[in-house]
């Protein structure tokens, strides 16, 4: 009897412990689907691509040979790789800078107190337009606009800026500029929307205090607006750098990386290695290098987010 009575609470304790244990498992049940997907579609693929990058003749033949870092050496000594890297850098920095400047200009316009909210909503919808079109459509549209006989050349010729229509996308000297301009058009709304939210979040009294101190509109912009927007600007710039440097479809559908490498970027370079020349080992090495570059940017992004919190 005594034994029973002493063991009873013990049994209950085990039960309670088990219930508690089961309860502590609940969150794992909820994150199980996403964890499985990330494992199968992210961790394993990254392991595979790293594996492939050390193999020769991978995918194309059943027997592939381990070649260590040879593929990396081949890529890093390939002149085209550096051309692609340089173009990616120019394209990315040009796009991100212009996205920021245009985004801020448009956001400031939309934040004005001179217009009624309804009119502002209409202009916001207009300014956001480019962002609503997919890259494949943007590419086709701009090929028509930039056609030697297209509307843009017509406007430039008839206003006397150029003498004859320019082959924007098929001339070596203008192709990189042309794809960058297209990408600028396609991407600024994302900056605009975020900066507009940021502008609306700046407390009014900061401006009132600045006005009392006799600050001009420009001084207010420089000493109040920009510092207040700084965290948003930095996050947006890093994110945009990550996205822009990975842009594939726009390049592929406008110039295909040409003419003669003039717009070759790291993603198109890698894609061609894999699916045009079937050098999957080399392409994997190139893909891993791109991954490392992106991870550096991601590191700064995550660190910035942490500092902000």
């Amino acid at each position: 009897m005594t034994q029973l009575s002493t063991s009873r609470p013990k049994v209950l304790g085990v039960k309670a412990q088990r219930a508690k244990f089961m309860q502590s498992l609940t969150p794992y049940g909820f994150v199980a689907p996403v964890s499985a997907l990330i494992l199968v579609l992210m961790i394993i693929p990254i392991a595979i691509v790293i594996g492939y990058s050390t193999l020769d003749n991978v995918i194309m033949t059943p027997e592939s040979r381990f070649v260590g870092l040879d593929n990396y050496v081949t890529i890093l000594t390939d002149g085209t790789f550096y051309i692609a890297a340089r173009n990616s850098l120019v394209f990315t920095l040009g796009s991100v800078t212009a996205h920021f400047v245009l985004g801020l200009a448009f956001a400031t316009l939309l934040n004005t107190r001179l217009l009624s909210p309804f009119v502002k909503t209409i202009f916001r919808a207009i300014f956001i337009l480019p962002w609503l079109f997919t890259v494949a459509i943007i590419a086709v549209l701009w090929r028509m606009l930039l056609n030697p006989n297209g509307i843009i050349n017509y406007l430039l010729v008839s206003s006397g800026i150029v003498d004859v229509g320019v082959e924007w996308l098929s001339s070596r000297s203008t192709a990189l500029l042309a794809v960058t301009v297209i990408n600028i058009w396609a991407g600024y709304p994302f900056f605009m929307v975020s900066l507009l939210a940021g502008l609306q979040g700046i407390p009014r009294d900061l401006y009132e205090a600045a006005t009392v101190d006799g600050a001009s509109a420009w001084q207010q912009f420089w000493h109040v607006t920009l510092p207040q927007l700084r965290p948003i600007i930095i996050s947006m710039m890093i994110l945009d750098m990550i996205w822009t440097s990975q842009q594939f479809a726009l390049i592929w559908l406008t110039t295909g990386g040409g003419p003669i490498n003039a717009t070759e970027m790291l993603p198109t370079y890698t894609y061609k290695l894999a699916f045009s020349t079937y050098e999957f080992g080399l392409a994997s090495a190139s893909a891993v290098i791109i991954l490392l570059l992106s991870m550096v940017l991601a590191f700064f992004y995550v660190r910035h987010q942490k500092v902000k919190d």
Partner: protein, 281 residues
Amino acid sequence: MAQTRKARERVSKIWTIVGLVAGTVFAAFPVFWMLSSSFKKNSEIFAYPPQIVTEGFSLDAYLVILTDPVKLRFFGNSYLVALSVTALTLIVAVLAAYAFSRYEFKGGKGLNLVILSVQAVPPITLLIPFFALMVTLRLYNTYQGLILTYMVFTLPYAIIMMTAYFNTLPKELDEAAKIDGAGPMKVLTRVLVPISVPGMVSVGTYTFMIAWNEYLFALTLTRTEDMRTVPIGIQLLMGQHSYEWNEMMAMSILGSLPVLLLFLFFQRYFIGGLTSGSLKS
């Protein structure tokens, strides 16, 4: 003094209007030209001088697209894939966001960090292993393959946004339901989900848009014409015989309609989601 202030205000008003007009031309003219070209005959596309509205206004280009079973199939494929991705992403993201928002658990922070950094993995890095994986799993050139692939790109954002949304809902709601004897799943489906519709709408529209617009994987993981989606279909139009610009523009308009309509109806959610997801993670 009052005079100069008034004058200054007038000047700034003029500049604002100039800016708005310039911005409108920059943002909307290409879109307007796409629309106008879709109503032209192909021979009029590069007419000299260019014509805004042509005498030959016609809906022929649209008729060609809408009566061609091959092109209709592109649209069907895109809708099927994008809607499936949206539904599945919402389910998985809501479950995960519930855990992140309501539980402290070992590894939770780490998993969150993984999800955050997954966003930065370049698609091109995943392309080659996905190609190999889909061939091995016999998912190459199937809807399932594309749907699974797109979820990798939609989930991180969806989870971050949903978690942020759940965090804004008071925990007292859950507690009340728990006292009434509801389990965690019931709390989620009966209490949180019904009041999270705005958050789910913005996650859903964003997800749909990513899936509808995707190009690289649609290009690489499908092979036959009957599996192609709209972005690839437009590209295929470019390759065929001569360039039928008016048809390409008509298909572009039709291909943009779903996203444009989503935007029109859900503008507020759309923009709200856009800003909260990237900034509050």
